[in-house]
């Protein structure tokens, strides 16, 4: 299988030969930071455009079609506009926390990029607690939202932040349990090992019906965790103007907006890694010839294909389902999803112990 390992290894060797240990480490940090920021910018532009195009298709419109071919430069133009806009800070706001909040949300999103495997042997940090790290760090994101809501000194913002906090804290549980089902099946938290364990078939196929249930619960829970419709109560336009980012403008608003899309990318990447095999091509058991043909498609294409498929799914939800009320939202989590996922976890544990999976 084609691997980027030779390229990364030769860069590593060249750097350590020319710069010494500490210098090489710093140089690698700089390279990784540049790549992460580049990925951020590109993802922001692509995902916003994709959202608008998908929305337009769903509503039988054309979507952005004036700037560049098929409107492809629309988001670049929007970003330019946001950069030159003035970033207002309201008079009654807690200025320090108000300005800090977008950066917290952004930094959390950046930290989550580290353990994701983008292609075969292409990962920033193959940490041994992989998915646990993702669950832990993603729980930090709610702090930024609460901070923004409180520091704005605006009732709409505060209400939006409270709703968002309640929502994220509750849906973290079922997302965590859905992740645990796959951890039980693989017996490892490390992302690279989880991907390797799917070399003879993805978990969604190998794990029978419980894996499919876990996948559905995971998708519902992460849709809620990223504050996307139909769970967008935190910024419900018709009730709270814009929720926690009502008072933000210019680049500070853009950072919130960008972080939302990056978070969608991250949760979809985690979902693709756990259930759809990450960068692993579609392999079926012992079909050697079929598996070999599939290996010709580069692993990064597999990874991004799966991630964008899941992103499309989440965007599809947004334009299909109406928004839930707060009580319905909490009922759904505590009375349905949580018991189902607990029972499902038990079932998967049984399957894993008895070795019933493929």
């Amino acid at each position: 299988m084609f691997s980027l390992k030779s390229i990364t290894d030769s860069i590593q060797v060249w750097l350590s030969a020319n710069l010494g240990a500490t210098g090489a480490l710093i140089a690698q940090c700089v390279i990784v930071i540049l790549l992460a920021i580049a990925l951020f910018a590109v993802l922001g532009l692509v995902l916003v455009l994709m959202e608008r195009k998908v929305a337009a298709r769903m509503q039988v419109r054309l979507g952005p079609n004036r700037v560049g071919p098929w409107g492809s430069m629309q988001t670049a133009a929007d970003t330019l506009k946001l950069i030159v806009k003035e970033g207002l800070t309201p008079d009654g706001a807690d200025k320090f926390l108000f300005n800090l909040a977008p950066y917290i949300v952004m930094i959390v999103a950046m930290l989550l990029l580290a353990p994701i495997a983008y292609a075969n042997n292409f990962q920033i940090w193959d940490i041994n607690i992989g998915v646990l790290y993702v669950t832990a760090v993603s729980s930090l994101g709610v702090i930024g939202i609460l901070m923004a809501g409180w520091a704005s000194n605006n009732n709409y913002s505060l209400l939006g932040a409270m709703r968002s906090g309640a929502q994220i804290v509750s849906y973290e549980l079922s997302a965590g349990l859905a992740i645990l089902t796959i951890v039980v099946l693989t017996g490892s938290l490390q992302i690279s090992e989880i991907v390797q364990s799917q070399a003879d078939g993805w978990w969604i196929f190998k794990g029978h019906i419980p894996a499919i249930i876990a996948f559905i619960i995971f998708i519902i829970a992460v849709t809620a965790e990223t504050n996307r419709a139909p769970f967008d109560l935190a910024e419900a336009e018709s009730e709270l103007t814009a929720g926690f980012h009502t008072e933000y403008s210019g680049m500070k608003f853009a950072l919130f907006f960008l972080a939302e899309y990056i978070n969608i990318f991250i949760v979809c990447a985690i979902g693709a890694t756990l259930f759809l095999g990450g960068w692993m091509p579609l392999h079926i058991g012992n079909w050697q010839a079929f598996n070999h043909i599939m290996d010709y498609i580069p692993s990064s294409v597999w990874f991004f294909g799966k991630v964008f498929f899941l992103i499309f799914l989440i965007m599809w939800f947004r334009w299909t389902f109406p928004r839930l009320r707060v009580d319905q939202l909490l009922n759904l989590e505590w009375k349905y999803l949580l018991p189902i996922s607990l029972f499902n976890l038990l079932l998967v544990t049984m399957i894993a112990i008895l070795g019933w999976h493929f």
Binding site: N128, I129, L140, I143, L146, N153, V169
Partner: protein
Amino acid sequence: MEASAIIFYAIAAFILGAGVLAVTTRKIFRSAIWLLFSLVGIAAMYFWMQVEFIAAVQIIVYVGGIVVLIIFSIFLTQNSGKEMPKTNWRKILFSTLATLFGFGFSYNLINEYSFTPSTQAFNVPIKEIGRQMLSPTDHGYVLPFEVVSMLLLAAMIGCIVIAMKSPEQKAAEASVTETEVHTTGGTVTIISKPEIVEEV
């Protein structure tokens, strides 16, 4: 100085600075945020020591759990946005004395029983932690583990009982909700607000 030593001192300074700000700021919400930074700094210290599991648990329990809870309780109390009154000199004096005593005490301890540096790499696989946690043998932790889980279950049931509405309350609330919804359209937010409070 080595790079790792520089990073150590940077993290340590961050933890201490955030801790000092947490107790000296006069806005209660900022105080919670500084506490949060201090706890994140401790998690960073664990990452620096390469005990990733402990670091992740530190973030989940303290930052994702406790600080969020603290922030929620600040939101739900009155006057959270106002500045707190200045501490009087007596409180400052005694807290300084307590701090100095604590510092002297731990300094004395460390001086007496100094650390012995180890050259062995500290590498515990996660599987070992899990096995040790549920092992019933001599140095296993299955009994404390089960006792703690019973305690947590009891706490959870207690929370549900406190938050549960009695049948009379439920009937009263249902009638109120109906009338409100019929008269005005935008009351959904107001009605659903208590729900957030009790579920969290």
